[in-house]
């Protein structure tokens, strides 16, 4: 059966189409992020200098402004810090640590939080109330404060930073997952699976989980940026990663004291790098959220 053809021209068509098309795509920002991540992960091959090999450093090269040259002819594109480290190399290495901490923290939080939320939703009753009360409690406090106090008591170290981040973050995922799982639980496929005699854990993992993972994933993407920013802040405040593995936050902290005398590059460039990393992740998360918005 032949159906009618649509009209292809009307007085306001161009104006209306322009409005319809205003949503930018996910692809562009994902590509940008992928490139950034590749650069960061391959840093050791890129960097002009290994900033943590003490043999490379010369204190006399300390606090040189951008584009200065060292004694042996190496160009410091972004200047050096007070120890004589090449800023560019330090930034590349620092990005790695920041990214690693962020990804680990989010991966763990997502895993723990999702399971907690799933169990709360599926088992219900007392277990649900208990888990959600704990979640509400944790979420009632500002993240930074809890992390700060935790680290004050645990001491420094990359693993401790990740732990602090996870303790603070998992509650978000638990809440999201539980909300979604509660909705899905009422659907027929869950009832069908239960009737077929599948054990509870199997239903949760193979049936519920795939359908509820959507909003959690979107949130997780944005949380990577939050985790990275949080780690940077904690390191800046002096309770984060130790000197042996400086993340961008620590680099910025190092440079703070020289800011007032005008040696801006020690703090500024690591900050720009951090900003770019966070910005890209946020944009990707934002686009992802818009693309998956059920109302469209």
């Amino acid at each position: 059966m032949r159906t009618i053809q649509p009209l292809d021209d009307t007085p306001r068509r161009t104006a209306i189409l322009k409005k319809l098309r205003s949503r930018p795509t996910v692809t562009g920002s994902v590509i940008a992020l992928a490139i950034l991540m590749a650069v960061v992960l391959l840093a050791p091959y890129f960097a002009p200098q290994n900033p943590y090999d003490l043999a490379n450093l010369d204190l006399l090269d300390g606090r040189l402004p951008p584009r200065s040259t060292s004694m042996d002819g190496m160009v410091y594109l972004l200047g050096t810090d007070d120890q004589g480290r090449d800023m560019l190399s330090a930034i590349l290495y620092g990005l790695r640590i920041s990214l690693m901490v962020g990804l680990s923290a989010v991966a763990l939080s997502t895993a723990i939080g999702s399971m907690a939320g799933l169990i709360a939703a599926y088992v219900g009753g007392f277990v649900d109330t208990l888990i959600m009360r704990i979640v509400d409690f944790i979420l009632g406090f500002p993240t930074i404060l809890v992390a700060l106090v935790l680290l004050a008591m645990m001491g420094r170290g990359v693993d401790k930073v990740i732990l602090a981040l996870v303790v603070v973050q998992w509650a978000h995922y638990a809440r999201i997952m539980r909300g979604r799982a509660l909705q899905e639980r009422r659907k027929e496929y869950v009832e069908a699976a239960a009737n077929l005699g599948f054990p509870a854990w199997r239903i949760m993992v193979f049936h519920l989980l795939p359908n509820c993972i959507g909003p959690v994933m979107v949130f997780a993407t944005i949380q990577i940026a939050t985790a990275i920013a949080l780690e940077a802040t904690l390191s800046f405040l002096g309770v984060g990663v130790p000197i042996t593995e400086p993340s961008l936050g620590l680099l910025i902290a190092n440079g703070f004291q020289y800011l007032l005398s005008g040696d801006y590059w020690i703090s500024m460039f690591p900050g720009v790098a951090l900003l770019l990393l966070i910005l890209t992740i946020n944009i990707v998360g934002d686009r992802l959220r818009e693309a998956l918005d059920p109302r469209r």
């Binding site: 059966m1 032949r2 159906t3 009618i4 053809q5 649509p6 009209l7 292809d8 009307t10 007085p11 306001r12 068509r13 104006a15 209306i16 189409l17 409005k19 319809l20």
Partner: protein, 328 residues
Amino acid sequence: MNDILLQVRGLRTAFHTEAGAWPAVDGVDLTVRRGEILGLVGESGSGKSVTGFSLLGLIDPPGEVVSGEILFKGQDLRKLDEESMRRLRGNRIAMIFQDPLMTLNPVLRIGEQMMEAILTHENVPVAQARERCREALEMVGIPSPEKRLDSYPHEFSGGMRQRVAIAIAMLNRPDLIICDEPTTALDVTIQGQILYRMQEICRQHNTALIWITHDLGVVAELADHVAVMYAGRIVEAGPVNDVLDAPRHPYTKGLLDSMPANTVPGERLHQIDGMAPSLAGRPVGCAFRPRCPQAITRCAEQAPSILQEGPRSYRCYAPIAVRETTSA
């Protein structure tokens, strides 16, 4: 003696997608006289609500009123600028929506939402506006109107909210009220009350009504004229008794036959086979052809144009002849 209030010719409203613009209203003609009640009947997706909104210029992107004339008291509404249109809305042409829970703002009191309908068009003192609102609530049969003005929408029942909507529509004594399925969301007894009230008010103030509905029974009770809509076109129109006693278009007959009231108890309910086409899936030729029991070859080739038969009109190549109509 020109008492023609509204004359619509060739109204076409389309919705834009990347592929093109699909017409929801595809060449509609309507005539409404002063004080007359026109029933616009059709199933979901027929374009009847879109017609109503098009008349008031309330079609937002991605929709667009593409072509046609909307002559209200001789003036073409499509040629008016937004401010002039705004002055007509709620003033000379009012509208009642389907679901009063969604159409009244939940965080503002009823009184405020009523008074703004007056105060936006006339510069009267607030006390006077409030008094008019109170009278309007009384007119639609709401008890303790003075107290009710300070209530919030969620404190009313569905039927009462719709009465409030009617009161708001009548506030400025408009010439025409467009009612978009106002009783669909209400239960049958309330529906009867509302219908009665509306009829009374309209006769009293000589207000014209366009009553948009899918329920032929309502139309039979209420309207003077009826227009039957299918897939964006008016397929049959005329004085209500003539059309309902002796329908010409097979769709109209199908609708009449499928009414429970028209079925002998114990017999199966009559159904029109198939489903109404979607916006993008309308067949070439007569849109009703795939479901029509008396389609001929010509129906698939070209959409039929309007045939006039006195005060009646219809679009059909194989209309039901005068002798055949015996439905009760």
